[in-house]
């Protein structure tokens, strides 16, 4: 049914579990000597990046290449886009070149939605982060990481969701696409989400989101199974969202002392890139509890799963069966 991945809100619980399970299958490829599957041979994936994001782009690129797809990287800088070409004309160009999937990163919220619904292209659209809206593959890789760490087992928790797990997201919620996708996906998977930020960085209207909002990090930490620290840009200070970096770090940064308030099993996540000394100290970032590096590795598996499910099925849909029927029975 679904041809695109635009918003984490579009995914049902079963869609999401299927993507995580598929990623778990595909992660095994990374352990082989030859890390490549022939699945998407002859298919073309375009990475259309209007914003610099080397980390996300190479993650998608690695994912597509491990599935044997042809990958074209289209960066707005130095291309006709920087000379005023519209998104529409860029899309029509990619369509003419036969793109089967377009992975788009754009500075405007809603640009991937527009690309997918305007009739400009026929292929699948994958949102790789749009403005301050969503970043669904980041939420998926975070959920994948959480499932391995908190639900776990030898199979990584295949078939299961995150029911009852308590996830705290800390930082610049207002400008964060990671937070928006995270709230949608984690609650869909049954997790209880709490957002923590200074009130200036919580969007007006977030009271209607399916999560709790708190201004007090210390009060929330003991009740968290996972704490996700968001990057806080220092420029926000100029717009008076908080007084100084030091004050932000004191009230909302995660240091060793605060980390000790968390339960022993709880993990610290960060989508990167980290501002060490701002939202997270080196002590925490380099500790065993921090999953930042693991998240990067998991990102490739998740993006492989998304591209696989969008492009390989008979109906090119998320919702088609996974490649090898070795999953355990779904019990929930």
């Amino acid at each position: 049914m679904k041809r695109h991945l635009i918003s984490a809100a579009d995914l049902t619980r079963d869609d999401a579990v299927l993507i995580l399970d598929t990623a778990e299958e595909l992660a095994r490829v990374a352990d082989r000597t030859i890390r490549k599957l022939p699945t998407l041979r002859g298919r073309t994936v375009v990475n259309l990046f209007f914003e610099d994001s080397t980390r996300t782009r190479i993650s998608f690129e690695a994912a597509a290449k491990r599935l044997s797809a042809d990958v074209i990287n289209f960066s707005a800088k130095g291309s006709s886009v920087s000379k005023g070409e519209s998104l529409k004309d860029t899309a029509l160009t990619l369509e003419a070149m036969g793109a089967d999937a377009v992975v788009i990163r754009h500075h405007d919220s809603g640009a991937p939605h527009r690309l997918a619904t305007s009739g400009w292209i026929g292929g699948s659209v994958v949102n790789a982060g749009d403005g301050t809206h969503e970043h669904p593959t980041q939420a998926l890789l975070d959920a994948f990481t959480l499932r391995r760490r908190l639900v776990g087992g030898a199979d990584g928790g295949v078939g299961r969701d995150l029911a009852g797990r308590r996830v705290t997201i800390v930082g610049d919620i207002l400008h964060s696409r990671v937070a928006r996708s995270g709230v949608h996906l984690l609650t869909t998977l049954g997790a209880e989400v709490t957002l923590v930020a200074p009130p200036t960085l919580v969007p007006i209207g977030a009271g209607r989101w399916p999560c709790e909002v708190s201004y007090d990090l210390d009060a929330v930490l003991p009740k968290s199974d996972a704490v996700m620290m968001l990057r806080v840009q220092r420029e926000r200070m100029q717009a008076a969202f908080f007084p100084t970096e030091r004050e932000y770090a004191r009230r909302y940064g995660l240091d060793g002392r605060r980390m000790a308030r968390m339960p022993d099993h709880a993990v610290v996540m960060h989508p990167g890139p980290m501002n060490r000394g701002m939202e997270i100290t080196a002590e925490v970032a380099d500790s065993d509890r921090c999953t930042a590096v693991e998240q990067v590795a998991n990102g490739v598996s998740i993006r492989m799963a998304v591209l696989y499910l969008l492009l390989s099925g008979a109906e090119s849909a998320v919702g088609t069966p996974a490649p090898t029927p070795t999953r355990s029975e779904e019990t929930e």
Partner: protein, 430 residues
């Protein structure tokens, strides 16, 4: 001229009992029943509503400078098609209408178009930059006789400049029409700030950014005892402030656009820039408060904020799109749908809010007059029983950025008369 002699038979004037109306020599010559043609062209109104020609206080005709989106000619044709006989052309053209020369150019283009009267609005400040007063007196003294001044598109946010403008225009009975938008509170604003903007990740345009300016300006207008008009009021809170100012007896008037009477920010979920407009579409609660305020007269009039944009400025991602939507050719239908068919306003009320009051605010001679013998024959005949889907392909405007494409709306302008001459006959431009 015999072609300019018409007999409208069986028209319900302002929704009253059917009557015959003879139009001759540019005026309403006779009103009665059983009138004979005597050589006049007969129009069988058959119970249609006869209104005074509509007057728009807020139209963007785009000429000079953006003739790719609209010209005075295409814009006035759109106005006539929508039942208007006079429009106020906003000053944010290229060059800005901030001198006697530019307002006279627009005024002259209006005269040449012949489809409706064009009353230029003068900029309050040079280049709409909010820094230095434009030559308001020269624009008033020009052939265009400007009485409405506005930096629309931008807010006169400096309190001292706003105070001076309000004071200065008293010398010639002018009015300052404020685009109420606190600029610092709306940096990067893309849509109404609230539940929907939080989800969509689009920059918020909070209601308080409009209300704070309106509150300041009604106090300024009271302090200097001048006339203030609020453009495109869009929030329930703004209604409360204007209601309070009026209760004090202050000389404050306000307009609402048709789209703010009907559409809400829920539509932005489509990320379709046809819904991108400034001030932004608000919530259902705001829409209901605006309807109520228009009905009770707190809001004086409907003004279209007709804002044509070329296709490429809307056929793009939300953030890159221009703000604004067409209004002239759908305004009366939207007002019928939201105000008349809901029982909030009768047709006499429509005449008041879309003709009498806007003409009075603009001090516009010859428009917004009662439909009675001896008055200028600026008239609009509307068929309220019509139902049909909006089709922008049939618009007279040069642009197509309507938010109502394909939407079924009631009512249709069948005839428009400008000083006795038909500009629209049987629903078609003459």
């Amino acid at each position: 001229m015999s072609t300019d002699t018409h007999l409208i038979r069986g028209a319900r004037i302002l929704g009253g009992e059917p009557a015959d109306v003879r139009i001759a020599d540019g005026t309403v010559a006779e009103i009665g029943t059983g009138l004979t043609p005597d050589g006049a062209e007969v129009i069988e109104a058959d119970g249609q509503i006869l209104l005074p020609g509509l007057v728009d206080l807020h139209t963007h005709l785009r000429e000079p400078g953006r003739e790719d989106s609209e010209t005075v000619l295409t814009g006035t044709r759109a106005a006539a098609a929508g039942g208007y006989t006079a429009v106020h052309a906003m000053a944010n053209t290229f060059p800005v209408a901030d001198t006697a020369g530019v307002v006279e150019q627009v005024w002259r283009l209006g005269k040449e178009s012949g489809y409706c009267d064009v009353q230029p609005v003068g900029a309050v400040t040079i280049g709409l930059e909010g820094k230095q007063l434009a030559e308001l007196g020269a624009m008033h003294d020009s052939a265009a006789s400007v009485r409405v001044f506005s930096d629309d598109g931008k807010c006169v946010d400096d309190a001292v400049i706003m105070r001076r403008a309000l004071e200065y225009v008293k010398a010639f009975d002018g009015v300052v029409a404020q685009h109420a938008q606190e600029p610092r509170l709306t940096e990067g604003a893309q849509m109404n700030e609230g539940v929907v903007s939080a989800e969509l990740g689009l920059g918020g345009w909070p209601a308080v950014a409009e209300e704070a300016i309106i509150a300041r300006d009604v106090l300024l207008a009271a302090h200097v005892d001048s006339r203030l008009h609020i453009c495109h009021l869009s929030t329930a809170g703004s209604v409360e402030i204007v209601r309070w100012a009026k209760s004090k007896g202050w000389n404050v008037t306000a307009e609402v656009t048709p789209h703010h009477l009907l559409l809400t920010d829920e539509l932005v979920r489509s990320y379709d820039p046809v819904y991108k407009v400034n001030p932004p579409l608000r919530t259902e609660a705001d829409v209901m408060a605006l309807r109520e305020a228009l009905a009770d007269g707190t809001i004086d009039c409907v003004a279209t904020d007709h804002a044509p944009h070329p296709h490429e400025d809307k056929d793009c991602e939300w953030g890159a799109a221009a703000m604004g939507m067409l209004g002239l050719e759908t305004a009366l239908s939207v007002v019928q749908h939201t105000m008349v068919d809901t029982g909030l306003l009768d047709w006499a009320g429509v005449a008041d809010r879309m003709s009498f009051r806007p003409a009075a605010i603009g001090r516009l001679a010859g428009h917004g007059r009662p439909v009675s013998v001896g008055e200028p024959a600026n008239l609009t005949l509307v068929d309220p029983s019509y139902r049909g889907a909006v089709d922008s392909a049939r618009f007279a405007s040069r642009s197509r950025n309507t938010p109502y494409q394909g939407r079924e709306l009631p009512g249709r302008v069948t005839h428009t008369f400008l000083r006795g001459r038909a500009t629209v006959m049987d629903g078609k431009l003459v």
